[in-house]
């Protein structure tokens, strides 16, 4: 008898555990974020100008807000111009809904460069965006960049950003291999690449690049800034411009706030010479990364047609380099 009992029990357990595993499979599993942006009024503006790119399938159904689609704000008070630029395109409430998880992606490409060297996004701009997220009712504000030189800890600290967001309850993310995920890329060159999970899963991805010179890319702006949330970056350079555009098909910047309070005009991306820094007192905001980059390029006296990844981004329909309704604010 004992043998029979144990076999029966064995089968019972087997059945039970199978059922449990099956049920576990039915529970919410981590899902990669949809490749197309979630619908929010201004992030998916349909083309209105004469310059009409092929719209993405999901971009056709929303209504146009009465505000501008891209804003450039100038002034000495960098917190004020950051606010003004975002207000001009509908305010943070247009992008961050109550309960949203927001990922801020400043450009902190290296440790060891204080903000005045214009190698990293300015802490005032970053902190202001963080504050606005909380004001819009965000549930969680995360911040991430992975420097190519120095540790993340040192980069967050040296850039002044760790101090600036202190007390704002912003969670600084630290990268570990388990936070990355290989996902398919429907790009022209890349078929798959490894991305930071939080960048794929966050409800709102706010791209806060600093506008600066870059030896190979020409300029590094919003689209290039997405390179911070991937792995294997050196391998991007084989076909840099196309690959940058391809990354932007996966990571959609719901809001781009270009920090051009001061810009680096030579020896980028790292800089290190104050002679290469120009104070430009400017912040650009848009939900269209291509439009924001194209406008930021003009600060360097360059056209978006000269910058490979912006041109390719425009060709691929990632955004409109020209023709967005522009608001100019001078404070």
């Amino acid at each position: 008898m004992p043998e029979e009992c144990s076999r029966r029990e064995f089968l019972k357990y087997l059945l039970g555990w199978t059922a449990a595993l099956f049920l576990e499979g039915c529970m919410g599993k981590p899902q990669p974020a949809p490749l197309t942006p979630t619908l929010s009024p201004t992030s998916t503006v349909p083309p209105t100008s004469t310059l009409t790119p092929t719209p993405k399938p999901s971009q056709t159904s929303t209504t146009l807000p009465p505000s501008a689609e891209i804003a450039i704000a100038r002034g000495k008070d960098w917190e004020a111009i950051t606010r003004a630029a975002v207000e001009a395109i509908g305010g943070m409430k247009a992008f961050v809904k109550p309960g949203d998880t927001v990922l801020l992606k400043p450009n902190i490409c290296t440790a060891g460069r204080p903000p005045e060297y214009a190698a990293t996004s300015h802490p005032v701009v970053v902190a202001t965006v963080a504050k606005m997220c909380w004001e819009a009712g965000a549930k969680k504000v995360l911040l991430f960049d992975l420097p190519f030189s120095g540790t993340q800890e040192a980069a967050y600290k040296d850039s002044g950003i760790a101090d600036a967001v202190k007390g704002l309850d912003v969670e600084l993310l630290f990268a570990s291999p388990r936070h990355y995920e290989k996902v398919p890329v429907s790009g022209r060159d890349l078929k798959e690449w490894t991305f930071l999970r939080q960048a794929l899963e966050a409800d709102v991805f706010i791209n806060i690049p600093i506008a600066k010179h870059h030896s190979e890319a020409g300029l590094t702006l919003g689209m290039k800034n997405v390179m911070g949330v991937i792995q294997d970056r050196p391998f991007m350079h084989w076909n840099l411009h196309q690959r940058i555009a391809d990354l932007n098909t996966v990571v959609h910047s719901h809001l781009v706030v270009v920090d051009a309070t001061r810009i680096l005009v030579a020896h980028g991306p790292q800089g290190g010479r104050l002679e290469d820094v120009r104070i430009t007192d400017t912040v650009i905001a848009s939900a269209d990364v291509v439009a924001a980059d194209a406008l930021a390029a003009t600060l360097f006296g360059r056209s978006w047609r000269d910058i490979g990844y912006i041109r390719i981004g425009a060709e691929m329909g990632l955004g409109l380099p020209e023709g967005r309704r522009l608001a100019e604010v001078v404070l």
Binding site: M27, G28, K29, P30, T110, A111, G112, R113, F148, S149, G150, T151, Q152, E153, A154, D158, F174, S176, P177, R178, H214, S215, E216, P234, F235, H237, W238, N239, L240, H267, P269, Q270, G271, G272, R273
Partner: protein, 506 residues
């Protein structure tokens, strides 16, 4: 019982302190107190001072304190403080049931090793210092134990992370490990020869089978130094003659008493473990202060050991000189910035650096990129376990001066950030046969992009090739500081297309 308990508590406390300091040092904390243990090591301090032929103040006070306490308390350092001693205590059979033979010549080896090491220091060679117990413990912790723990914690986290409800817990644990230092800043740090260091530690534990703490009593050169220093210590074990029944138990459990003795007496080798006090059935033994007198030695520094040490050192010097590497520097010796090396025409003089470096491994520990690694054979036997930068593993961070701040003997100088950024530690060379633009005619400018020198030590030249306009990187030797980030980030797999070699002056 109270002395023994106190001693066990003290060992645990110092061991924990040792672990905590060593592990936290990886979190960007540098300088004192993170290098406390090597600084209190008199053998390291004396060797380095003899090596450079002058008093090294960097390690003087700690060493003086240890020696002063030893004058007063005898070899108590071994029984109460030494982290390696504690480890070997815990891996020995706690109380030996039967004494083992103690007549072997091997038991006098510690004096031989001490002579050997000090004689080599006279010739400014510190390479045998890797037998110093503090550096053994420090190196093994740095290179083997800490990385293994880190791996384990990360693997557990990785295994649990896919379970959605546990993710928060895993992230929280990660934060805690990072705060403690078990997961170092900038990711896990792994070291060459880690298995060797671990094996060496296990070998020492295995030697406990010959006799409890065999290493400490028979081999440890620091132990020999402390034995000689503590010979006149007034702290002795005293037996109450009236209470003693001559049962012989104390002689049985004493780790250092010679064969044939039937009860403990005060000896210079005694590390005041207080086992005899604790286990005497008559409670007849106690610590007492006595008039300083010359205490007997169980393992005496025989003339043979002394002469053997001198001879050994001489032979070792000759053998080291016969190494081909004494003629030419290896091209792969890139020392950390601030290392006391001299650059002159075609020559790379390391004698001061090699006579100061005690091979403790703290600089490998604090290097945030993991680029500082123990040297193996590439620099000859004289450089074993000294730090070299291996750019393919990690580069010299442009914003970091940690190695100079942690170095307990000043073998690596403390540099200000500005000085460090000007210090040439190597020179980058482009291998045009492997470099992507040169060999494949494809665009790549990673090395130029990574170069941290403000006006760039790598510049790009635009040239037309096969109808394409390409940017070709070029090194400007006068600007290159040899930090190695270009080699580290070069996307060419395995051997990079741009490599850093030892610098030279023209």
């Amino acid at each position: 019982m109270v002395w023994r308990r106190l001693r066990i508590f003290s060992q645990a406390l110092f061991f924990a302190l040792f672990l905590a300091l060593g592990i936290r040092a990886s979190q960007g904390f540098t300088g004192a107190p993170w290098n406390l243990f090597p600084r209190f090591d008199p053998l390291a301090a004396i060797s380095a001072s003899i090596g450079v032929k002058r008093l090294l103040w960097a390690s003087f006070w700690g060493a003086a304190l240890t020696l002063g306490l030893t004058l007063l308390l005898g070899r108590a350092f071994c029984g109460w403080v030494c982290p390696l001693g504690a480890f070997l205590d815990w891996t020995s059979r706690p109380i030996p049931r039967k004494r083992r033979s103690r007549g072997s010549y091997l038991f006098h080896a510690s004096f031989f090793l001490l002579t050997f090491i000090l004689a080599l220091s006279l010739a400014s060679k510190l390479w045998l210092l890797f037998l110093d117990p503090i550096t053994i413990a420090q190196r093994t912790l740095v290179a083997s134990l800490h990385p293994v723990l880190g791996w384990l914690l990360r693997a557990v986290g990785d295994a649990l992370y896919p379970l959605r409800p546990l993710q928060g817990l895993v992230e929280f644990a990660d934060k805690a490990w990072r705060w403690v230092g078990l997961l170092p800043q900038g990711g896990l740090r792994l070291y060459r020869f880690s298995l060797f260091f671990l094996a060496f530690l296990l070998l020492l534990a295995l030697l406990n089978r010959l006799a409890p703490r065999f290493w400490c009593r028979a081999l440890c050169p620091l132990g020999a130094l402390l034995t000689l220093t503590g010979r006149f210590s007034p702290l002795v074990v005293k037996i109450d003659e009236e209470a003693c029944t001559q049962c012989g138990l104390c002689a049985d459990i004493c780790p250092i008493l010679p064969a044939g003795a039937n009860r403990v007496d005060s000896r210079a080798d005694c590390w005041r473990c207080a086992d005899c006090i604790a286990f005497c059935p008559e409670k007849a033994i106690s610590f007492a202060w006595a008039k300083p007198h010359c205490q007997p030695l169980t393992f005496s520094p025989s003339r043979r050991a002394f002469l053997g040490g001198l001879l050994g050192a001489g032979a070792a010097l000759l053998i080291a000189r016969s190494d081909a590497l004494s003629r030419r520097n290896s091209p792969n010796i890139i020392r950390p910035p601030g290392a006391k090396v001299k650059l002159s025409l075609g020559k790379y003089d390391e004698s001061e650096f090699l006579s100061r470096c005690i091979r403790c491994g703290l600089c490998w520990k604090v290097c945030p990129t993991n680029g500082l690694q123990p040297a193996g054979t590439e620099a000859g036997i004289e450089s074993f376990w000294t730090p070299i930068l291996i750019p393919r593993i990690g580069y010299c961070d442009y914003g970091c001066t940690a190695c100079g701040e942690i170095c307990p003997t000043g073998a690596i100088e403390r540099l200000s950030l500005e000085e460090k950024r000007r210090r040439k530690i190597g020179l980058a060379y482009i291998d045009q046969k492997r470099c992507i633009p040169y060999s494949l005619h494809l665009p790549c400018t990673v090395c130029e992009e990574m170069c941290p020198v403000p006006d760039k030590a790598i510049v790009l030249e635009e040239r037309e090739i096969e109808g394409k306009t390409l940017l070709f990187p070029k090194v400007l030797p006068e600007r290159c500081i040899g930090c190695g980030i270009c080699e580290n980030k070069c996307p060419v797999p395995d051997e990079a297309a741009i490599r850093v070699y030892a610098p030279f002056v023209v």
